[in-house]
Amino acid sequence: MTISAHNLWLIPLLPLLASASCSVIRRRGRSLAATFAILAMAGSFILSCIALRTALLSPASHLTSNFTWFGVGDYAVRLGWLLDPLTAFMCVMVTLVSLLIFIFSIGYMKDDPNFKQFYCFLSLFAAAMLGIVVANSLLLLFIAWELVGLSSYLLIGFWFHKPAAAAAAKKAFITTRIGDLGFFMGILWLNNATGSLLFYDGGRGVLEPGSLAGLAAQTTVGGLAVSTAIGLLVFCGAIGKSGQFPLHVWLPDAMEGPTPVSALIHAATMVAAGVFLIARVYPLMTADLGLAGAPVHALTVVAFIGAITALMGACIAVGQNDIKRVLAFSTVSQLGYMMIALGVGSWVAAIFHLLTHAFFKALLFLGAGSVIHAAHHEQDMRSLGGLGRRMRVTFGTFAIGMMALSGVPFVFSGYWSKESILHAAHEWDVSSLPFLMGLSAVVLTAFYMTRLVAEVFFGKARSASAEHAHENSGVMTVPLVILAVCAVGLGFLGTPAWPWLQSQLTGSTMPAHSLLEGGGLTVLSIVLVSVGIGTGWALYARHPRQTEDVQDPLERAAPGAFGFLAARMRFDELYLATFGRANGYIAALADWLDRRVVGKIVELAGRMSQSAGRFNREADEEGLNTGFNAASDELRLAGKLYSQAQTGETHGYLRVLAIGFVVLAIASMLGGSR
């Protein structure tokens, strides 16, 4: 069974229809809404599996189906669908994770009055995300890109009655919009330079050698190749959406949304869209690599931004006390890893990590959601504790997720994907800095995840809500188990010994290596993970926290540094003090100009026209109006005089008719005789 690229639009269509029907269902139609959404998602999942099968028949080819949206003069705006292994793997991942999270949400959201609205938004999100994935046109991708931004806004602010949630939704929308501005400029520039926005179009697409050679050959300001400049602008969009430094500030705040939303959108799928975008336009990003004299390559920027983000996110995660915030900064950090992989030239490693991360991070968020749900929305880890005994399934699956994220070797998927990134970074010949930063982040990741597990699940319950927590129903635990299985199993698709995923993504067979290839590095990273987990264990698990208000061991040791991390390195304060204040000054200046200068000018103009009007009125009433009135009276008089001639007497009428004839005839003859 195969699906042609022509019918690929069915995959996003199903959730879109579900969203539409959910929007018209009555508010009480809770189970109906959930049924629609889940059935649509399941249908999309099946279609995605078929698409994957189709794509893997010939992994190296890009199956496309393009059509003209509308034409303006000679220029036609064309859109299309694209089916290749990258699309297919993403589709399967997005639909499967969405499906599981949709099911989990039945339990998590069961007390919410806006239940059906939630499924409406979630389905809209899924449709838009799948739209990004199957698009064969940068314009179509951008449309879907903005739609996921919208649904993210709606879902972060789902509990809009909470001021923090409303503010977070606004922050997310505005911050990502800054990146999207750059993205949009890149799209316009690309369209201007190549006349097309289709990725693959039988040799004329922007990702095909013909266009790329032209883009790389031209240079623009500062000696940058046009392809570099466009690539960097497009990367701006990825920075915003994927929470990269310096636009990462919105992502932790986005955790104000319901936890399934955090799991689906702000961990597994949408935030990975930036990584997907760069992987999709990878030929454009690499077009400048062959240029010797280029001041900077686009991918170099990507690698450094990724490295900074990876390390920074891991550092901040250490200082957080809210379960979801720890996970949020962990997401920021992991996305940084993916960017490192893209930057150092291994987009396959980036996608591998994207796929494994999607499953284990969704698992971790849903596990956190399970804890939060059980503990009556208590999400400060200092107030929890001792949940390991009460919630065994959640604890077990969460531990699997934690080990996958930390990179515990050989069994867990996170190990393999992170390892392939570190290998690629090690082999990068431009700089070793990203590699070193990535290694440091490995220690920190293992450390903060151990801290999180120890604080939440070990020791004794430190609050009433934690004491009364008990395991959730099957609708919430079954998705956790499935995700846990994926978090373990997925890694074996891309081990060095059997690099199946890598081969399928690139369409060329990758050579198999021994599992311990590059032995020194493997040993080093295993040691680093052990150090991280060991330190965490020593500090938090051996002597679990006794009460809520005991100081954190790290805080005792270095209060300044811990406070700095707990305040998220004060990025928000920094932005407030710089951009916020500058904006305030500009606004004040504009206000002053408006009131004092423009206002005065308007007032003056108003006065002048008032006087002119007064003069005009005098002139009008005295001069013109009298004249006009007189003329009007004349006209009316003429009319009256005329209508007096209309006597109503038929003889007179007939006489006029005859006279008219005679006059006309004589006039015509006279006119003729001249």
């Binding site: 009256k640 003859m669 003729g672 005789s673």
Partner: protein
């Protein structure tokens, strides 16, 4: 020439439908509907008549193209669009008739309207003097009857009488002109006449002939100085009859005389493009146009009577339409058709509103419309659209009609010659006309109603007719090409 009766029958199926419809209405009214009340009989007769008109329209649409019966009839674009336009206008008038105070013999009223339409459709296609004259007379005689239909009401009887006397005179002129043309050329077929006409347009017989034709033209479309019947007939005749006289009759008249002048006497046209004007009927037409615009607009200014005001407005519009006829030879008759058809819609619509208002009391003075927006918002809204269209306010159809006619007339010779001056005058007078149109609207839309005047109930058929007419006025104004590219 062997007469092609089969072709003739096919081509005249619409007329057949109209006559059959008229006879059916009469027969049913005498037998089946006999016991019903007057109002119901009126509505039923109007509905039957409407079906016949729609049938005629469909048959026209499917009918033949080109010349029929040895060239006596010409089914070209102008003919077919005019036939369709005339039928549509008659349909609106029938809707209005169903709303008027029921005359004693409702079915006869409808039947006579159908006979008149038969005359109009024949006028639209006639390309032969005899057929044309018969068509005009069929139409005119029916209209005389319609004008005097309420024979117990003195004003109606007087209107019918005046119309008849005046029309009889005009018909005599027309027949005399036609016989002169026959005498000059020995033919009654228009293309034939054109080829045999004396080369010199100053030929006295020819001048007398075309001036006589112009007199009849002036009478038919109420152009000065042959317009004198119009105010009295508009004032006295039953409202539905006036609606037919003002709309369908005018459109058919313009179509017939445009064809007669440009197909039958193109060599005698002369020129008004530049001074000095050359001999021919164009300068005479220009004089009629000038006179009509002046008389119509100034006459309307002083009117207190809404019907007389509309009569003078009709005269003024005829003057403007003459400009289109002058340009039709060179630039086609589409602007004339568009203007006349949309004018007909707006005028018959305005009379329709008057007819409905009349159900509750007299509607003669402009002040009888006072507070219409309170008494019936629907009527007030429709009247607003019709009057603004008559005044030529965009985006209503009246504006584009004027625009096309003036634009084509300006192409005759720019602003240099009499045609250009007439256009300038026409534009200036349009501004003047706004005054008397707004006087009407002020009463209908702003003034307070007479405290004793109650709300007006609009009968359903009339409401449909009025709303459709108003909708078409807006639609053709927004998308004029719909009407301009009709078949």
């Amino acid at each position: 020439m062997s007469p092609d009766y089969a072709g003739l029958f096919l081509a005249l199926r619409p007329e057949g439908a109209l006559v059959l419809g008229a006879l059916t209405v009469l027969a049913l009214d005498l037998s089946v509907f006999r016991r019903h009340s007057g109002d119901l009989r009126m509505a039923l007769a109007a509905m039957l008549g409407g079906i016949a008109v729609i049938g005629a329209g469909v048959l026209t649409w499917m009918g033949p193209h080109g010349s029929v019966f040895g060239g006596s009839l010409m089914f070209d674009r102008l003919a077919i669009t005019t036939r369709l336009g005339v039928l549509a206008l008659v349909l609106v008038s029938l809707g209005i008739a169903s709303a008027s105070r029921a005359p004693r013999n409702a079915a006869e009223f409808v039947a006579v309207i159908l006979f008149a339409s038969c005359g109009f459709t024949l006028m639209a296609a006639a390309q032969q003097l005899l057929l044309g004259f018969l068509a005009i007379e069929l139409a005119s005689l029916s209209l005389y009857v319609l004008a005097g239909f309420e024979k117990t009401r003195p004003t109606s009887a007087e209107a019918g009488m005046k119309y008849f006397l005046f029309g009889g005179m005009a018909a005599a002129f027309l027949l005399f002109g036609f016989s002169l043309l026959y005498g000059l050329t020995g033919s009654i077929d228009l293309p034939e006449i054109a080829s045999r006409l004396p080369a010199d347009p100053r030929n006295p017989l020819l001048v007398v002939a075309f001036v006589m034709v112009l007199v009849a033209f002036g009478f038919k479309v109420a152009a000065a100085p042959f317009h004198l019947w119009a105010p009295d007939v508009y004032e006295g005749a039953p409202t539905a009859s006036v609606s037919v006289v003002a709309s369908a009759s005018k459109l058919a008249g313009f179509a017939f005389f445009t064809r007669l002048l440009w197909v039958g006497m193109p060599t005698a046209a002369g020129s008004v493009a530049a001074l000095p004007v050359s001999a021919g009927w164009l300068p005479a037409l220009a004089a009629i146009s000038l006179f009509s615009m002046l008389v119509g607009n100034f006459g309307a200014l002083a009117q207190q009577n809404i019907r007389r005001l509309l009569a003078y407005s009709a005269i003024a519009h005829s003057g403007a339409l003459m400009l289109g006829v002058m340009a039709a030879g060179e630039f086609g008759s589409a602007p004339v058709f568009y203007y006349a058809a949309t004018y007909g819609l707006a005028a018959s619509g305005a009379f329709g509103v008057i007819a409905v208002v009349e159900r509750t009391g007299p509607c003669q003075k402009i002040s009888d419309l006072a507070g219409l927006h309170r008494r019936s918002p629907l009527l007030a809204g429709c009247l607003g659209i019709f009057i603004l269209s008559l005044a030529g306010i965009p985006p209503l159809a009246g504006f584009f009609g004027k625009f096309y006619v003036f634009a084509t007339a300006l192409r005759l010779g720019g602003l240099a010659g009499p045609a250009g001056w007439l256009v300038v005058l026409a534009i200036a007078l349009s501004a003047l006309a706004l005054y008397y149109y707004l006087v009407v609207l002020k009463q209908a839309l702003v003034a307070d109603p007479d405290p004793e005047a109650g709300p007006i109930k609009v009968p359903i058929l009339a409401a449909i007719a009025l709303v459709t007419a108003a909708g078409l006025v807006v639609l053709f104004g927004v998308a004029p090409s719909l009407l301009l590219n009709l078949p």
